[in-house]
């Protein structure tokens, strides 16, 4: 299978305002297929806004977005998802009154001619089995039929991940997947990200530096709606600018 040279994602001159606030001033990036990129930056830097614009939750005020070479700037989020873009939300948007497996079942990639099968019983058939498999993969097997409201925070984040994977994404965008996780849960998350299918392109917003730097081959630093620095994990560790932004301190490479 030939890995093409078309970037998985290309954004150019993207800007977005909220009233007078310029949440993103001008974002440019090109991410190769299969590349692993982390986006870091302090709170309010515009990272989630950038995700929302890429995923189509709201339009940019300027610039364009291309997914695998195809312009998607004005497509609705549902069409982008069907083109292989999957994202998680910083604040969980799970289906709180449904069970774990039902959540993943809903998230499964839509087949093109689903029309008739939408009217068949759900607990029979391959899709239900596939959902079961995914739940097991993220380590929630024992919670299969638990209602999401009753899950712990960490379990909800794991479910988020299973749902993103259920889409069979080509571009996976995770917004702070490690937030609020325990040490052990972070460990298993990191392991899962490292073992991700190499063909999947990963865009990761993460506050936990250890995870952000370990998983990615390239790191983009955002500050006040601007990309202020870009480099490999070791360049990030060495950068004085990044240290200044984070008020020294938090980038320790043990």
């Amino acid at each position: 299978m030939a890995i093409s040279t078309t970037p998985a994602l290309e954004i150019s001159e993207i800007s977005r305002r909220f009233g007078g606030l310029r949440a993103i001033k001008s974002a440019n990036a090109s991410i190769a297929q299969g590349e692993r990129v982390s986006i870091i930056g302090t709170n309010g830097a515009g990272k989630s806004t950038l995700f929302n614009v890429i995923a189509g939750l709201f339009p940019p005020h300027s610039g364009y977005i291309k997914l695998f070479g195809e312009e998607i700037t004005h497509l609705p989020p549902s069409k982008r998802a069907r083109k292989g873009l999957a994202r998680t939300f910083q604040i969980s948007k799970l289906f709180s009154s449904l069970s774990v497996i039902e959540n993943v079942y809903i998230a499964l990639k839509q087949t093109k001619y689903a029309g008739a099968s939408l009217m068949l019983r759900k607990t029979k058939g391959n899709r239900w089995d596939r959902a079961r498999e995914l739940v097991e993969q993220v380590g929630l097997a024992s919670k299969m039929d638990t209602i999401v409201d009753e899950l712990s925070h960490g379990e909800q984040r794991q479910l988020e991940l299973a749902m993103a994977m259920a889409l069979e994404p080509k571009l996976l965008m995770l917004d702070e997947p490690a937030a609020g996780l325990s040490k052990a849960e972070r460990e298993s998350l990191t392991k899962m990200l490292l073992e991700l299918d190499p063909e999947i392109t990963l865009l990761l917003i993460e506050h936990d530096m250890e995870i952000a730097l370990r998983v990615a081959s390239r790191v983009i630093v955002m500050h006040d709606g601007e990309q202020v620095f870009e480099g490999t994990p070791s360049e990030i560790k060495a950068s004085q600018l990044v240290r200044d932004i984070y008020l020294g301190g938090s980038i320790d490479d043990d």
Partner: protein
């Protein structure tokens, strides 16, 4: 007692069919064990059924889409008008008129869906109310449907002339509507609707066209509401603007709320209470509407899940807390303990 409760808990699927089946058996026996069937069968039985089915379509939309529609009565009424004009104006037979009525009602629902598809919450409620008011003033003035006087007489087909037969005919439609709603709810389509209700943004991010699902759900509910129109028009023997009036809309809303706007089957309990009040409240007071209103407000205040919700609350009293519930409580307690102690240490440090 304890083993009974355990049995109930372990056989949820069976239990979820137990109550509907018991209700059905009682409903079948009903014409035979009441004292004055000539009064009860049409005024309580049949009226409960069509009010219930119309309210069921409202409840379906609320339960699975989180939308409160005030246009369901208008849809039932247009189905009734469709049947009436087919029979009265064009002299068609009942078996042709009924499909025409269903088609008219369902088509109206599809149009309402297109108009209202992008609105949610209170805006959806207002737009559906406005649509039903537009329909009301239209039928009141339209010569084709005989304006204020409406279309009459809509004669029941021969085999339904006998009141009990008509009652069982209505009951069969009710069973069909109930099964249809439950079936749709159990499909992936139904599950997706619940997903949209919980988190429409997430559904979009997962590749679902939310408007398309909303459209089909509203259209399906319109079909259910149209079924009520069949019984309604043969029960009243006419179609007139009263059936689209604000009063009729509120009647069905009250029925849905009494039944608990999340319970598909509860609407028939709501319908029963409503028709009983409607017929007998005037025996105690000459302000029967006031009494109905007061009861409505009391239900909203004390049993927001309606009368079937009261039943659930009672079940909750008997149920011993589930293990996960207990774990959650412990966790909350532990978390609160940590929070307060860390607050204390912070206080000390300052």
């Amino acid at each position: 007692m304890k083993s009974v409760i355990t049995w109930f808990r372990n056989n949820r699927v069976l239990v979820s069919w137990l109550i509907p089946v018991i209700v059905l058996v009682v409903a079948i026996a009903f014409p035979y064990f009441i004292m004055k069937p000539k009064f009860w069968v049409p005024n309580i039985g049949i009226k409960t059924i069509w009010l219930g089915i119309s309210a069921m379509s409202l409840t379906f939309l609320n339960r699975y889409l989180g939308l409160l529609s005030l246009a369901q009565v208008a849809v039932s009424a247009m189905s009734a008008y469709g049947i009436a004009s087919a029979m009265v104006t064009f002299g068609l037979d009942w078996y042709i008129a009924i499909p025409i009525g269903l088609a008219v009602g369902t088509l109206l629902a599809a149009i309402i869906a297109i108009i209202s598809i992008r609105t949610v919450a209170i805006y959806f409620l207002m737009i559906t109310l406005a649509i039903s008011q537009v329909i009301y003033s239209w039928v009141s003035q339209e010569v084709f449907v005989n304006g204020r006087r409406g279309l009459a007489p809509v004669r029941r087909p021969e085999f339904l002339l006998e009141m009990n037969n008509f009652y069982f005919f209505a009951l069969a439609i009710a069973v069909f509507a109930y099964l249809a709603c439950r079936y749709v709810a159990s499909t992936p389509f139904g599950l997706s609707l619940e997903g949209i209700k919980d988190s429409p943004d997430r559904m979009r991010a997962l590749g679902y066209s939310v408007s398309k699902y909303r459209f089909w759900a509203i259209t399906f509910a319109g079909f259910i509401a149209s079924l009520a129109g069949i019984i309604m028009v043969f029960d009243r023997a006419q179609a007139d603007p009263d059936i689209v009036s604000l009063n009729s809309t509120l009647d069905v809303l009250i029925v849905a709320v009494l039944g608990g706007v999340t319970s598909i089957g509860g609407v028939f309990l709501g319908g029963l209470v409503f028709t009983l009040l409607d017929n007998f409240a005037s025996d105690f007071t000459d302000r029967s509407m006031t009494l109905t209103g007061v009861i409505f407000v009391l239900i909203l205040l004390f049993a927001p899940k309606g009368l079937t919700g009261v039943w659930e609350q009672l079940k909750g009293v008997f149920k011993k807390p589930s293990s996960s519930g207990a774990a959650k409580d412990l966790k909350t307690i532990a978390k609160e303990a940590v929070d307060t102690s860390s607050a204390k240490t912070k206080g000390k440090n300052q």
